[in-house]
Subunit: 150 residues, 3 copies
């Protein structure tokens, strides 16, 4: 199955990337590496606000991370025109808006990691850092940055 | 206009890079990529201490980010000898020392992003992640890490 | 002295890497770059829990960072089969689980940086970012991500 067939089987429609609300661009390619900007979790077109350990559960955080993975694939598609050109999802950096006692950032991050594994197979197996941050722009609950090899 | 003419038009003088106060180096080149260490905001030769949302405004944070961009250009100049050799500012990671409720990290980061855009033009359009951290070495208010393509 | 002779002189035994407790892999190689996942501090086979400024001293944090450096070398050895193939330790990102007032993340990070310098010599001189985060998976006190050139 191609990447797009897998997305269809998962009933996932890729979004049109939204231009960043700031003085930067959604991705930069250098050589065979594609660096994607940090994407924040969005819900119903607005920042998905909240903090893990305060007013969001780990399951909600994981769903937010999964939704960012879909947005990241939208940006990858916009960058390349064809997701099948991706040789490898190299690395994710997963920032979780965390209260002082929340320690399940890895479970939140799995919402994104598992989707990449399902959609890209072996090419989706990535290195990753996940950790708790004090805040995220617009109060969003999760932010993810990605590096891919083309 | 060359990069240096743009800097002169903006009345910006690049600093001599200060050796890191620790067991690392200000930059490492690998292939065509130049990785710069996180630079903390400095003011009058001392760490620019403070926290956004506590005792610094967004405007002050943005000014601190802009000052780091100048320091990063000083390091890029020291690394390459000629800023015109830069093909692209690839990526910034902007860490904002944030109180629990401060959510304008993107506006703080724009202080750096907009300066790179003005000085480098299209080559300055970069990917970016900005987020709020619990603290920064020496209590500095902002720290920025940069990747450039040569 | 080879890297392994230096490790022996320091009485350091490299661990077998533990598979990540999540949906990702410990490292990804792309071209000449090796991206290692964030490794959290472990003690006696369990996450080394604690927060700097709350219940751990800077010295303890530095020891935790040093122990992660050893684990990262274990992963590098597993990835390459021979640590002497490493051309350069390119970059560390050092995340320190920090209370709101702790500002010595650079001293904590030195625990890792100084070991890389001792083991790899000039090849161990790396770029670095160190900062304080709100939390780390499993409540670990330090997490480090690494990029190496092969």
């Amino acid at each position: 199955m191609s990447v797009y067939e897998k997305l269809a089987a998962l009933h996932i429609t890729l979004p049109q990337p939204v231009p960043p609300v700031a003085a930067f661009v959604p991705f930069v390619r250098t050589g065979n590496l594609l660096f994607l900007s940090g994407h924040i979790a969005m819900k119903d077109g607005k920042p998905w606000a909240g903090q893990l350990g305060l007013n969001l559960t780990t399951e909600q955080g994981s769903a937010a991370a999964r939704s960012i993975a879909i947005d990241l694939m939208g940006t990858l598609h916009a960058a390349l025109g064809d997701l099948n050109q991706i040789k490898r999802i190299v690395k994710l950096m997963v920032l979780v808006n965390s209260s002082p006692l929340f320690t399940e950032q890895h479970l939140v991050a799995n919402g994104a990691s598992e989707l990449f594994a399902r959609v890209f197979g072996d090419k989706g197996a990535h290195a990753r850092s996940a950790f708790g941050v004090a805040q995220i722009p617009f109060g969003s609950c999760v932010e993810i940055e990605l590096v891919a090899e083309v």
